[in-house]
Symmetry: C2
Subunit: 279 residues, 2 copies
DNA sequence: CGTTAGTTTGATGGTCCTCAAGCACTGTGG
DNA sequence: CCACAGTGCTTGAGGACCATCAAACTAACG
């Protein structure tokens, strides 16, 4: 097993409620990719390398996309719905959510992003962004300009394919989320959401079948799952009383993983893409 | 205004209920792109040309993707959830829907596709398809192999960007659909859906603010909107009685377009991308 | 002329929303 | 040091929205 040093000085600052747990960094490389020699590879590179075998040149181009690192405060939008000429970002540490605000003021969270995920990639090619992106905790993200991306694609078409794959996986998650809103009741929806998040976090070493640290509030869950905060609370209580899962104090604990999988009818096929796709 | 001849001999066959109206073809080119000299350009080419200025070479590569045209019967899946090694398709005529089946047998329709749309593109790069695709009427579609796509990307990176744009737009529609399921009541959801479909069809000349031909059943609407077929019927009755929109006999008629827009809080920004993106 | 697919309407009840109130904890300023 | 506000969590009561069950109706089709 390979262990890493925390990258970036900012990440060591204790930030309000983060004194007990660290939502930002991961502690081990999943799959233990032996051909990666550098300690300080980005989460995105790790994620893509787990699925697509990239050449030295492609890895270099990918790393070059990570110039222009910036730090953002929690609650201050990175990307705003309706604004044009947006940059995309690669999330290096922390949690963010993408959401749409309705004319009546209500909010629908489309997805949460964790380290290694792209932010606002869809907005880059559309004239104006169709959604907003907000950091849930303080984050580190690398700004990626449209021109950077197009240049990278021209230099290494295989990298374009790799990023296409990542986008496809993100879209598969959005679709699964849509299915949850359309066809699952509140209990199953919550169970499915907590399981999916666990599986995603496990992939970057930030969680396991035992549980994970989670900075989300019950309001976040309500806005993501299309429920009222009141009902979220009741659902969480029920799941806790049924000894399935405990959501408390920024920590998700799976009390009965298999039981939760059964309740949610959780099938992680859309997340598990084992083995390199491109030779 | 430029008029086109119906492409493909199959499209002229009368197929069950299609004797009165034609769900497959469009009759005029939106925007009237003067630089297109060929009469027989595909709907996809037209759609992309409306937004991205493509060179002769890129247009040629795009048309080459349209070899391997095939006809599919209504109701017979093109793409099956859980199967690997899937091809993608470009829809040339007819309507299809993409959906996911739940373990309990219920179905959630993720989106409908109309001529010029990609089918199963997301499944190409994932190991196994996460959804199924079913023709609603008899369709014509061009099969696109992964290798074709990768070759095309390597030949013309700008085309990769153009297709990326189309994928982004599709994803924006899925996201808007998700918002509808999470945050709109049944009336607004239905209104929004009918308006979005109208806007999409208008872009390829198959509809207007007056209305459009629509081969969907109330069961399709129910599966797409996360409602029961019974409730769909009631909602349609209410919208009809309120003189907003009439859905009847395969025809959608907007009785009060602005009123419907107000009810749905419909903002077509995520669909309208005017002007070429790339110079 | 029975069968099937699609539409329509009524009755009943459950899931989940809304309103309302109280509690715990944290940080702030007098 | 303590009142106070702010944020987030918790619980109760009442009711709206929409699902489910049931049944009738129409049109198309063999």
């Amino acid at each position: 097993m390979v262990f890493t040093i925390l990258a970036g000085t900012e990440a060591l600052r204790t930030d309000r409620k983060q004194s007990l747990c660290n939502y930002s960094q991961f502690s081990r490389i999943p799959g233990g990719g032996g051909h990666l020699t550098e300690i300080d590879t980005s989460p995105l590179t790790r994620k893509l390398s787990a699925f697509v075998a990239l050449s030295e040149v492609e890895l270099a181009v990918l790393e070059r996309l990570h110039q222009r690192r910036r730090v953002f405060r929690a609650g201050r939008d990175l990307i705003q719905q309706g604004q044009g000429e947006q940059a995309a970002y690669i999330l290096a540490s922390g949690w963010v959510c993408s959401y749409k605000i309705q004319p009546d003021g209500s909010r629908q969270i489309v997805d949460f992003q964790i380290p290694g995920d792209f932010l606002g990639l869809r907005s880059v090619l559309l004239k104006t962004s169709d959604h907003s992106v907000e950091p849930i905790v303080e984050i580190q993200a690398a700004e990626v300009l449209v021109s950077d991306l197009l240049t990278a694609f021209e230099q290494t078409p295989r990298l374009a394919t790799a990023i296409f794959w990542a986008v496809s996986r993100d879209e598969a998650m959005v679709v699964e989320h849509l299915v949850g809103l359309g066809r699952r009741d509140a209990d199953a929806r919550m169970a499915h959401f907590l399981l999916e998040l666990g599986a995603r976090l496990a992939l970057v070493g930030m969680g396991s079948k035992a549980g994970y640290a989670c900075p989300l509030t019950q309001y976040h869950l309500a806005d993501a799952l299309g429920l009222s905060a009141v009902h979220v609370n009741r659902v969480l209580r029920k799941l806790r009383e049924d000894a399935l899962v405990t959501f408390r104090d920024g920590q998700v604990t799976f009390d009965n993983y298999d039981g939760l999988v059964a309740l949610a009818e959780f099938d992680p096929a859309y997340l598990d893409q084992t083995g390199p796709l491109l030779k």
